[in-house]
């Protein structure tokens, strides 16, 4: 049985199933037992599963990351949450030097089954220290896995996969996806780690993105339909390992490639995708692949500038014309403009 639920409800549901089915699972994070329950993703867990399974924590991200690693190597399977990716930087030594290498550097004797949920923000003036997308920093490091759900369905399935995995898994949640809805099965399921998802089949070009980027992909695809252009939309889903093969197959079919990155435009996921496609299937390319990301600046608070940071549909449309090597949209075509809120019901404060 499936029904339509929100992304944050899907996270909560997976978490409840995990706590119910796996007695060695624990949830820990600053604000987990709060009345707001990490944007609704942990609401009611303490009441249901007790304070021996569900933990708040001091603002001590470095030790807490190490403590979660210690808990994981000693029989538990913790899910740790940070309300902003920026806070996790305080504990990144533990993730990059310790967790990512633990299995290898113990000669395979020990393992770290740990999920780190990192929430990335956007909008409402969050500003330079509360709205970065730092996926490439984590995805660069062998030993970690990095997942980026783009819908409620993906969120539940991938959280389960992350939990089932015996390695440290970084699980990125885009704040603006929390209130999006999709059809989600009522029972537990997992999705393969390291497999792209073809969201929409198409023939004219390959449109690759992940996380919130998929929302933009869907919007532009809808507009493109009226111009009889049909992109193949690929959701990367897993930034490490990346399923390059599916992307290559798609590019072989379409001959054209555009990557929408959620983060800064340099040294990003899109660069990795394009570089790999070019090396592997150069001959299939009809036009140079393109990428688009956010402006290469710290993210300003004021909406007048923040709205310029993120690629607008118009920017994306422009890139599509470039890879399609022709004009598609009439000059007067009016694209919806960027907003600093996911929808009008959103009124802050964070």
């Amino acid at each position: 049985m499936s029904r339509i639920i929100n992304f944050n409800e899907a996270i909560l549901e997976a978490t409840e199933e995990i706590l119910t089915n796996h007695s060695n699972s624990i949830i820990v994070g600053l604000g987990v037992p709060d009345p707001k329950g990490i944007f609704g993703t942990t609401l009611g867990l303490t009441e249901k599963y007790g304070s021996n399974r569900v933990y708040d924590m001091p603002t001590a991200e470095n030790a807490m990351t190490g403590i979660a690693i210690g808990a994981a190597i000693n029989g538990l399977r913790p899910i740790m949450t940070h309300q902003r990716v920026e806070f996790s930087l305080l504990g990144i030594e533990q993730l990059i030097n310790q967790a990512a290498k633990w299995h290898y550097m113990t000669g395979g004797k020990s393992r770290v089954p740990l999920v780190i949920r990192l929430i990335v923000g956007r909008g409402w003036g969050q500003g330079p220290q509360h709205s970065q997308f730092l996926e490439p920093i984590f995805a660069h490091v062998p030993g970690l896995k990095v997942l980026c759900p783009s819908s409620a369905y993906e969120a539940k399935g991938l959280l389960w996969s992350a939990f089932n995995d015996d390695n440290p898994v970084i699980f990125f949640e885009h704040r603006w996806l929390h209130s999006t809805k999709s059809i989600v099965p009522e029972t537990p399921y997992s999705l393969p780690i390291g497999k792209c998802n073809i969201v929409e089949e198409g023939t004219d070009f390959t449109l690759v993105s992940y996380s919130y980027g998929l929302t933009e992909c869907r919007k532009i695809a809808k507009i493109l339909k009226s111009f009889d252009i049909h992109p193949e939309i690929v959701d990367i889903r897993s930034l490490r390992p990346i399923d390059h093969q599916t992307i290559i197959e798609s590019v072989k079919k379409t001959g054209r490639l555009l990557c929408i990155d959620n983060g800064w435009s340099h040294m990003n996921i899109a660069a990795e995708i394009i570089s790999n496609v070019v090396t592997e299937t150069f001959k299939s390319l009809k036009s140079p692949p393109q990428r688009i990301g956010i402006a290469d600046v710290p993210i300003p608070s004021t909406r007048s500038l923040a709205n310029l940071v993120y690629p607008s549909l118009k920017d994306i449309a422009h890139k599509i014309e470039t890879i399609m090597e022709r004009k598609i949209f009439p000059d007067q075509f009016s694209f919806p403009e960027n907003q600093d809120v996911p929808d009008q019901s959103f009124t802050g404060p964070f």
């Binding site: 806070f87 500003g127 509360h130 402006a295 300003p300 310029l308």
Partner: protein, 325 residues
């Protein structure tokens, strides 16, 4: 530990402290009131209920002194003499904001007022402030650095690391801990062992520390005075811890006692200990004079809001400027 001569302060100083606290309170209440207009589109952390610490400490800062703050910085900015208009413009995201709208409420700065900056990553400003004091020392510059930090911030390792360095190099840092007993929705007893003591932690690192009631502005003022003269006499850092309480929600303009994360009556107890009310009573100011002061301040505040509302947003070219110096 220095003795604290309570309430021996002259009337004029008291009146200035009342003025400072009231100003902060009224600004914050106006922010709270106008937040729902959705024009201040950034997270705001109000200090309503905690004004005495900002006012009592900053009253001692002289032009060479500097301060640094964190996410809950409005009170520090104003008590230090920061420009109200520039602050409100910042909250409204306007080009006349103290950070050109690029920072928002969590990144206030007023170098003329001595406010180096405010940054919302909990604890990080402690090290930066310590570094400012270190460079004062290396460059033989006068002045102290006051670092405002919460009880939550003392949980970050960077707090202990900074204490160590300040102690080792005899830096003129005044660590000001505003212990409001909460970090977001979590009471201190759920985050720190009952035998943990912030003052003792400072001492164990070699730093002299004092604590006092943070809602008695005269106590705050007097203790800070003692702390600073201890610092100057001994050329060393000092930590002061003040207990206090935040009235409104952690982030945002609303009351949120209904959420039930605080004990019944806890808020009321603390509101009864309102620092503004008790100083007003102590001063014996007449209702008329008080209301006149309120009106006078409110007028100025409204004026600043009007300025912020009518100011311009930064234009597109600002997006890429200031990335590199």
């Amino acid at each position: 530990m220095p003795s604290i001569p309570s309430y021996k302060m002259d009337q004029e100083t008291k009146y200035e402290l009342l003025h400072s606290m009231l100003f902060i309170r009224l600004v914050e209440e106006k922010i709270a009131e106008k937040y729902s207009e959705n024009q201040m589109r950034c997270p705001v952390h109000l200090s309503i209920g905690q004004e005495a610490i900002a006012s009592g400490v900053c009253a001692h800062l002289s032009p060479n002194d500097k301060l640094i703050s964190a996410h809950r910085s409005h009170a520090h900015y104003l008590a230090a003499g920061g420009d109200l208009k520039a602050m409100l413009c910042e909250l409204y995201g306007k080009i006349d904001g103290c950070a050109k709208g690029k920072g928002g409420s969590m990144h206030l700065i007023d170098l003329e007022a001595g406010l180096i900056s405010a940054v919302p990553i909990v604890g990080s400003s402690i090290a930066i402030g310590t570094g400012v004091a270190w460079s004062n020392r290396i460059q033989k510059l006068d002045g102290i650095v006051a670092i405002f930090l919460g009880d939550g911030a003392t949980e970050e390792g960077v707090f202990s690391e900074s204490l160590d360095f300040a102690a080792l190099h005899d830096l003129k840092v005044l660590f000001v801990c505003e212990n409001n007993h909460y970090s977001v929705y979590t009471h201190i007893s759920e985050r720190q062992h009952s035998k943990r003591s912030i003052c003792d932690i400072a001492r164990a690192h070699g730093i002299t520390s004092f604590s006092a009631e943070g809602n008695e502005v005269v106590e705050v003022y007097d203790l800070t005075k003692e702390a600073l003269s201890f610092m100057n006499d001994n050329a060393c850092p000092v930590l002061v811890e003040f207990s206090t309480f935040r009235w409104r929600e952690h982030c945002g303009p609303n009351w949120d006692d209904d959420l039930g994360y605080r004990k019944d009556g806890e808020l009321k107890n603390w509101m009864d200990k309102c620092s503004i009310k008790s100083l007003r009573d102590n001063l014996g100011i007449s209702d008329t004079r008080y209301l006149n002061l309120v009106n006078e301040l409110n007028e100025m505040i409204l004026d600043a809001f009007k300025h912020a509302e009518s100011s311009q947003f930064p234009n597109e070219s600002e997006l890429v400027s200031d990335v590199y110096a």
